[in-house]
Amino acid sequence: MLAVGTSGPLLHSVFLMTTTLTTTSNAISLYGVSRVFGRGAAAVHAVDDVTLEFPRGGWTAVMGPSGSGKSTLLHCAAGLEKVDSGRVLLGDADLTAASDAELTALRRTRIGFVFQSFNLIGALTAEQNVALPLRLAGQRPRRADVRATLDAVGLADRARHKPRELSGGQQQRVAIARAMVTRPEVLFADEPTGALDSTAARTVLDLMRAMADAGQSIVMVTHDPGAAARADSVVFLRDGRVVDMLAGATAHQVADRLAEWER
């Protein structure tokens, strides 16, 4: 029940589950989570009373029409956005009760992010970008480890390039390497292939499939039924609510179901 990162001065912070103390097999669990933007007549229920469990070692895709609350849900699940009600658990740790410093420590150790716009730091080389989370955690990353991570995404020969010298697909793979270097429990990805062409997208998806097969928990938002079909299961959102789920579906089935909900 005591679940904290492995290093850093924040070890004293204890995330206690306030209700059941049964150890869950979920990577991330959301219970009755709501997030409202604005107030009064202009209020938008971006996420509306969502209860969802993302299994450990599974790859879940989140789909839905534009504005259905996918990104907001992902941000809430990752502790980037505060929730208005409900609880979010990372393993057994309650993110909704965590302080800014505790969330920072989690981002360094237990959570990884990949986004549509790759969000690399332009001043740093690929290698330095990948090493950054480790250095922020106060470690002195060994060059060999960093190179190995870059090698895993097929970019060992681009270690010294700056982001602007890389193609979109390469930049996204550097971003994945950066997310993976801390060996996080959960990888969050918001439209990781949204800005890529189909070949680059396939490389990235293959990479993620291999990671999921090796036991990595992944939560991914996507618009692409083909990408969603690579995941183990698909969750459909509409107007901030979970309206449907599919497991082991083909791209065709996902596309049909999506079309239904977008009508």
Partner: protein, 626 residues
């Protein structure tokens, strides 16, 4: 973190050029002023000069030391102001970068340390540039001091080895202190802001801004209210200090005021005009950053110059009203013997040194002494003066105690202790510190004194004839002309000091303006590219940016005038209280010059920066996603 600071600086160097320049200039000025101050304070007059000359030289050195003190203070204030606003703005422009750092696990401490590291490097680099530049500045400053006769020929600044430590310390201190507030603010950046293309504009009117604005507004109002009750010298000093807090207050409220006023600027209709107007409104922070140094520039330069000119004119008016004379004759000719003359007050001026107070509170000041005939002085200047035997009266200069004993030393001999038994009213334009009766000073010591005689005519006397007769005893002037010329010489030192200080302030403010525009444009490449793919030509983008710069400059000038207005009100109230007539002279040529320089500098900077920011084809910019 220092490694990342270094990488950040190298990558975004255009954002930091301005900060670097202002640190370097700050270091150069502090170093130069400090070296000259020490050189002037320890300056020994060359051997073989007369005692009167020696007193004059040490008087000049005292004035030089206080001038350098003002320059030193001004340099630190302006450097602090420009550096901290530059940092605040660069940090604001990099919110996404900083949020990204937070997203991958950077804590608040990391963000703070990153920015402090950058400041440290900038401080070191700024000092590295500033120290050699300081030597040039010192040569220039010493030349100005010699030319303006604060110091005799042959005076130069002396290099001191320890100044290296002071200069590096100054650079680092200026840069680190400048970034502290910005770093605190930046540490509150939320990681999610990295994911929004254009993050929610950070709140511009922070609590700190409100508090600072209200405090400085209160300070300016207090000075404006108290100045009329401060008497001639106190009132002038207070009125001259209104512009500074008033401008800081206006700057604090700039994010609210600038868009409001910029909307009223005539930037023309059409699509470009409305684009420029929308930009000003949307980027309040950027608009305020460009306007802020302009506000300070206009308020300080126009406010203080107008105050100085007005007080001088008002002082001359006051003397015209209180001096009952028609002509002034230089020399000690026998003006009284000329037919048609009713009264003559011959006044002999000497430099001196006055000591007053006891023990720890003893003070020695350079003073000017006027040897007069009490009855004639009373008649001409319309104020009773009783002087008999060994007594003195505090003069219109008002810079020695009005009662009690003082020790007086004149060139060629010590007069010992004298009781000050009375005083004449202090005048707005100053004047002699002490009045002495004729018999007190040995004739030999009076030989070197400069003499003027104020001559009043009998009613009905023939002016031209009397004037012609007087001209045979010495050079004659009309009272009004003489008063004006005398005020000009007496104000000379003040004017020169103001010239140096305001010139420096203006230079700094312009650097601040250029900084703000360069930083603003450096982060607008994407915005420009988007405008171009929407269908604007490159020329149209540049023109819209220029219109925007003009709208903001106009707003800055208007708001600077508002702050200067505070000084104007204090001047009107003070001159009215002291002399009975409110007086305000606005130096319109200077105003015109400031407006022209401001428009030229902002216009050119805007053109150059937006031209270079649109050099690359828009697609390459929109494709790069960092």
């Amino acid at each position: 973190m220092l490694g990342m600071s270094r990488a950040g600086l190298a990558e975004r160097w255009t954002l930091f050029v301005g900060a670097l320049l202002s640190v370097a200039l700050g270091v150069a000025l502090v170093q130069s002023s400090l070296l000259l101050l020490i050189s002037a304070a320890t300056f020994d007059p060359p051997p073989g000069v007369s005692e009167a000359e020696r007193m004059q030289i040490s008087d000049g050195a005292t004035a030089a030391v206080s001038m350098l003190g003002v320059v030193l203070g001004g340099a630190v204030f302006l450097a602090g102001f420009v550096i901290s606003s530059t940092f605040a703005f660069t940090v604001d422009q990099r919110r996404r970068d900083l949020a990204l750092l937070r997203l991958v696990g950077g804590g608040r401490g990391h963000v703070r340390r990153l920015l402090l590291g950058e400041a440290l490097l900038l401080g070191l680099a700024g000092a590295g540039l500033g120290i050699p530049a300081g030597l040039q500045v010192m040569a220039l400053q010493a030349w100005l001091m010699r030319r303006f006769e604060f110091v005799p020929e042959g005076f130069t600044g002396q290099w001191r080895m320890w100044i290296l430590g002071v200069s590096f310390g100054t650079g680092i201190l200026l840069a680190v202190a400048g970034v502290l507030v910005a770093a605190r603010r930046a540490a509150r950046v939320r990681p999610l802001e990295a994911l929004r293309e254009s993050g929610p504009a950070a709140r511009v009117m922070t609590a700190g801004r409100w508090i600072a604005g209200l405090i400085f507004l209160g300070g300016a109002l207090a000075l404006m209210i108290v100045a009329p009750h401060g008497g001639p010298s106190g009132g002038v000093a207070m009125a001259m200090n209104v512009a500074m807090p008033a401008s800081v207050a206006v700057v604090a409220f700039a994010p609210l005021l600038v868009p409001l006023i910029a909307r009223l600027m005539p930037v023309g209709g059409g699509v470009l005009g409305s684009l420029a107007r929308a930009s000003v409104r949307d980027a309040r922070r950027r608009s305020a950053s460009v306007a802020a140094p302009l506000i300070v520039l206009v308020a300080l330069v126009v406010g203080n110059t107008a105050a100085g000119v007005s007080f001088t004119a008002s002082g001359v008016d006051e003397l015209k009203r209180t001096t009952h004379a028609d002509f002034v004759v230089e020399g000690r000719g026998p003006a009284g013997a000329v037919p048609g003359v009713a009264a003559v007050s011959t006044e002999l001026a000497l430099p001196g040194e006055v000591t007053y107070g006891e023990g720890e509170y003893e003070e020695v000041v350079g003073a000017s002494v006027l040897v007069v005939d009490p009855a004639a002085y009373s008649a001409i200047h319309g104020t009773p003066v009783t002087l008999a035997g060994r007594t003195a009266v505090a003069g219109p200069g008002g810079d020695v105690p009005r009662v009690g004993p003082v020790r007086l030393r004149l060139p060629g001999g010590d007069l010992g202790e004298l009781p000050v038994t009375g005083s004449v009213p202090a005048a707005l334009s100053g004047g002699a510190s002490l009045l002495l009766p004729r018999g007190l000073v040995p004739e030999a010591q009076l030989a070197e004194a400069s003499a003027v005689s104020f001559v009043a005519l009998e009613p009905g006397a023939d002016r031209a004839a009397v004037r012609a007769a007087l001209a045979r005893t010495g050079p004659v002037s009309d009272l009004d002309d003489w008063l004006r010329a005398d005020a000009a010489t007496r104000d000379d030192t003040n004017r020169k000091v103001m010239l140096i200080v305001l010139g420096l302030g203006g230079l700094y403010a312009l650097i601040g303006v250029v900084n703000a525009i360069v930083i603003g444009a450096a982060t607008r490449r994407r915005e420009f590219a988007e405008a171009r793919v929407t269908g604007l030509t490159r020329g149209q983008v540049i023109r819209a940016a220029l219109l925007e710069a003009y709208a903001v400059t106009g707003a800055g000038l208007v708001l600077g005038a508002l702050a200067a207005g505070g000084a104007f009100i204090a001047v009107l109230a003070t001159t009215s209280a002291v002399t009975g007539t409110a007086n305000l002279d606005i130096p319109w040529t200077l105003v015109g010059g400031v407006v022209l320089v401001a428009l030229t500098v902002t216009g050119l900077t805007s053109l150059i920066t937006s031209w270079s920011a649109t050099r690359r084809a828009p697609v390459t910019l929109l494709a790069a996603r960092e």
